[in-house]
Symmetry: C2
Subunit: 340 residues, 2 copies
DNA sequence: CTGAAAGCGCTAACAG
DNA sequence: CTGTTAGCGCTTTCAG
């Protein structure tokens, strides 16, 4: 079933059929209606490839996700999808699986498939990859901090500041020996969180202790392992700041296994405010990150770029606000009123 | 940059270039190497659309997900993605958002984009939609039970049996007044779970009580609301069977708010065994569903269909095994050895 | 307002 | 082993 069938059926030329498909206003109402009816009846849909061959637009964006089972990333992805769907775009979902090689392979696929734009969530791609994209004239938006951030469009939060705020909260709650467990990835963001952690200690003239800083896989299991080690230290910390809620969940599990009470014996602080952080026992104090919004803003920026509303040359950085979400896992009775 | 540029550069015809791209063995090594080098240098990639126009294959499958933020669905999706990626396929991610209309719109998009096949997770599509797909000759695999299951390729577990097993476990643990909270969706699967619940009661000659069966949104919030109602009953149940772990989490939260101890005052049973079910307090007894495997088997079946390995005519149903995962939330001290 | 025809970039049959 | 050429299905000038 192709455009010629329709044309023959209607007794017109293919050009006319093509016109009712693309510029219906340039076709006489009568012929148009007739053709439309035939199209309807035949359930004819123009061939996607033939169309793309002429327009060179796919109505598709690439969406790179570092880890599809991590709900933090999926909430961002959902924000992107929401916007894309409203624009009648579909997203090609790429699960980079924390693997730079896989991410690059996917990127090549996306370029090959001529996507109209790409959203990269917490990407580990490098300068060369971005150059490639620029050559191909494919607009890109990064969500989450990036090492080569300069010259790229980025939407993120201020991780340094957020981490500093988190640690300060712990300090204000009376904890002094504060440890931090952070994930290997996303590398850059977590690097910033570590900086924030150190800054908070410095400002209080507290020593930075190497043994209180641990890096693990960014997962529940990672947190579990990290906390076990910390708890076994000669002088264990009074509080643990985790670079993600998932790590914090693992931390809490490990501490329970060690028969330590949270927050009485040891406080725990998370990062992200995923839905479950309000359901673990005790409820987790954490940094609330506007995940969905990050996705929405990222996608909007991308579409501005695609539609030429935004000058691609000038790199734009959008910083969204975070908040501290105080619940039970850090103690601090006075502020309990703010509790959710 | 197109195939003609490369041909001219290499001093050969476009056919030869096309050959090194598609049937390199039919090209003299010398010319081949020369052309390959030029392709490399020019970073030439064959035009996706032109290619599709000839092959009518996209290397893309559609993946319909009912709710992208539900990790149950994402684990299945991951299974699909794993297989697809190995086949060098990419999945077009469609977030149906529990909305039949949105799902249908996405389906139309997928057909328009000429995907090579579609995996539908817990779909709410109907007979007409499937007929459309058949007409277009697009193979489809359903993951999860479906009302029009007959004549379609399905991968799922036996929800009736699983639910019956779950309720029996509750009964064996000494609970008699067992309530069930199930989600509106996935409709068919949850319908089967309700059947299993009733069967278990019947087999013990226990009465089915209308007020003990509640349907809510399939979410933490839904479970919370449902459990509140149950707890306020004149004769509240001694145990609650939730049709999903997420509902169970909400149930547990509500019971805690009512100052009820789990499992001493009331037992809770989940369904799915998502990662978090092992981290809530108390750890949740639940039905372990092989989520990732469902996705893998579904995708494999789809690719067999795409590659013509499998006769599309004959509907195939693959039933995967589930297990009961006994933890703490239901009491039952004797079997505690099986605890994870 | 409509039709004829060129061309988008690539593949494959056919001929050499 | 390689080149010529006819499509794939559609859009879009250019004439009428």
């Amino acid at each position: 079933m192709n455009i010629r069938h329709i044309a023959k059926e209607a007794g017109v030329s293919v050009a006319t059929v093509s016109r009712v498909l693309n510029h219906p206003e340039h076709v006489a109402p009568k012929t148009r209606e007739k053709i439309e009816k035939i199209i309807e009846e035949a359930e004819y849909t123009p061939n996607w490839f033939a169309r793309g061959l002429n327009f060179n637009k796919t109505g598709t964006i690439g969406l790179m996700i570092p880890h599809i089972l991590n709900s933090v990333h999926m909430e961002i992805a959902k924000g992107v999808e929401d916007v894309a769907h409203r624009k009648e775009y579909i997203a090609l979902m790429c699960n980079a699986e924390r693997d730079a090689a896989k991410e690059r392979r996917y990127l090549e696929q996306l370029i090959k498939r001529r996507v109209d734009g790409i959203v990269l969530i917490c990407s580990s791609l490098g300068e060369k990859d971005f150059k490639m994209l620029e050559e191909q004239n494919i607009p890109v938006v990064l969500i989450g901090d990036h090492k080569d951030g300069l010259g790229l469009h980025v939407v993120s939060i201020d991780c340094r500041q957020a981490a500093e705020k988190a640690v300060s909260h712990l300090l204000e709650a009376g904890h002094e020996r504060i440890a931090m467990i952070y994930g290997f990835e996303p590398e850059v963001e977590n690097g910033h969180k570590v900086e924030g952690y150190k800054t908070a200690l410095e400002k209080r003239n507290l020593p930075f202790r190497e043994e209180y800083l641990r890096t693990v896989e960014n997962s529940i299991e990672g947190g579990y392992l990290g906390a076990k080690k910390l708890a076994e230290l000669e002088e264990p910390p009074q509080a643990i700041f985790a670079s993600s809620d998932y790590i914090a969940f693992g931390v809490m599990d490990a501490l329970k296994d060690k028969n330590l009470k949270i927050p009485e014996d040891i406080a725990v602080m998370g990062f992200d405010n995923v839905r479950m952080s309000n359901l673990v026992e005790p409820k987790l104090t954490t940094i609330e990150v506007p995940l969905h919004k990050l996705g929405v803003y990222g996608a909007r920026l991308l579409f501005d770029l695609i539609e030429g509303e935004e000058d691609g040359k000038e790199a734009k950085t959008i910083l969204l606000q975070h908040k501290i979400k105080i619940r039970k896992s850090c103690g601090h009775k006075e502020r309990i009123g703010e509790m959710f």
